[in-house]
Amino acid sequence: MVTPTDELLMERFCRGDEASFDALYFRLAPQVKGFLTHMVRDRALAEDLVQTTFLSLVRSRDRYQIGSTVASWVFAIAANAARDALRHQRLKVEVSDDSQVDHGIEVPMGDPGLRTELEAAFAQLPPPQREAVLLHKVHGLTFEQIATALGTTSAAARIRAHRGYERLRALLSHLES
């Protein structure tokens, strides 16, 4: 049996098939949660934002344009929710001790020290660059899909990701030597 695409599931959901939403949720939620955890660096907040993202998908399903990539649209919603949450929490984050922030890092695989350094470098990227690098490198979206998700042009998404990589390279340069 052929597995239905995300787009087909979304189309069915828009037509009223609730079961298609469940399938879409279980398929996309882990990726969305990973993206949000890296974006907000707070596991509990990321879980709330996953819920907000999928509630927004349900509430605004008539805004989905049939035929467009569902993953880009869902990541766009997640990025918008994360940016808004970060804006509202900025003051709180600025005054909190960074060492007490739950970075939401999953159980370390491989070299834990290296992973921690990578996570710390990631956290130093400006949110637009972090979004672009995450969506490209971790979630495998094309620059066209990233552009749709971030409401920008493909060229701008490419530049953001490139600057993010350059910044990461500079932050982790001591590891090369």
Partner: protein, 215 residues
């Protein structure tokens, strides 16, 4: 090793609890009447249109303007009517970021045009700030309707700006059909409240709690 396994099991239990809560909230949401962005856009355009047309009629009926003045300003009022309608629609519609960019430019040109085409004008017995006050009060109703619509979309400065500029056209139309003062008056007492309404739309929209984050 044991602690990692415990962590994994705890995480799995948390993930399952989050999924269950989300799906339950989604089911509750699906039981609600289905929302339509088209209805929001239509509501905003109708509110805006009704204000603009109703106001012109009131000004004519109360003798605060003359049919001749209205007809002589038709060349500036007609583009404002079209821009206001398009602005209301694209402030709410999904996608259309390029349209919004083009509309901001068109609104700026419209602002310039109503100043340039005004000429010397005629002095009025009313204080000049009456125009500013009318401009702001006429925008209040459509601003509320616009904010309700914008609450259902992700925060977007261009979207809020287009909504604010569209709302300001109601006052601009009132200024065109009900005020015959010179271009300096228009530049200060008509354009400043128009810009102020736009700024309010952007600021309020940025701070309000969203119902949805869909683009």
């Amino acid at each position: 090793m044991m602690s990692s396994l415990d962590d994994l099991l705890r995480q799995q239990a948390r993930d399952e609890a989050t999924s269950a809560t989300t799906l339950a909230r989604v089911k509750a949401e699906l039981a609600q009447p289905r929302h339509s962005w088209r209805r929001d856009a239509l509501r905003l355009v109708v509110a805006w249109w009704a204000m603009a047309c109703g106001l012109t009629t009131v000004l004519l009926l109360t003798g605060n303007t003359s049919p001749d003045l209205v007809l002589s300003r038709l060349a500036s009022v007609a583009p404002l009517m079209v821009l206001g309608g398009l602005g209301g629609y694209f402030a709410i519609a999904p996608g259309g970021q390029r349209w919004r960019g083009a509309l901001v430019v068109a609104f700026a040109l419209a602002m310039l045009a109503i100043v340039v085409t005004r000429g010397a004008g005629h002095p009025s017995a009313q204080p000049e700030w009456v125009c500013t006050l009318s401009h702001l009060s006429l925008g209040a109703g459509p601003l509320g309707v616009a904010m309700l619509g914008l609450r259902r979309t992700a925060p977007n400065v261009m979207r809020s700006m287009v909504a604010g500029l569209a709302i300001g056209t109601v006052g601009a139309i009132a200024g065109e059909v009900g005020c015959d003062q010179g271009w300096q008056h228009v530049m200060v007492f008509h354009l400043v409240p128009w810009a102020a309404l736009t700024a309010v739309a952007v600021l309020v929209s940025r701070r309000m709690k969203r119902w949805s984050y869909a683009p």
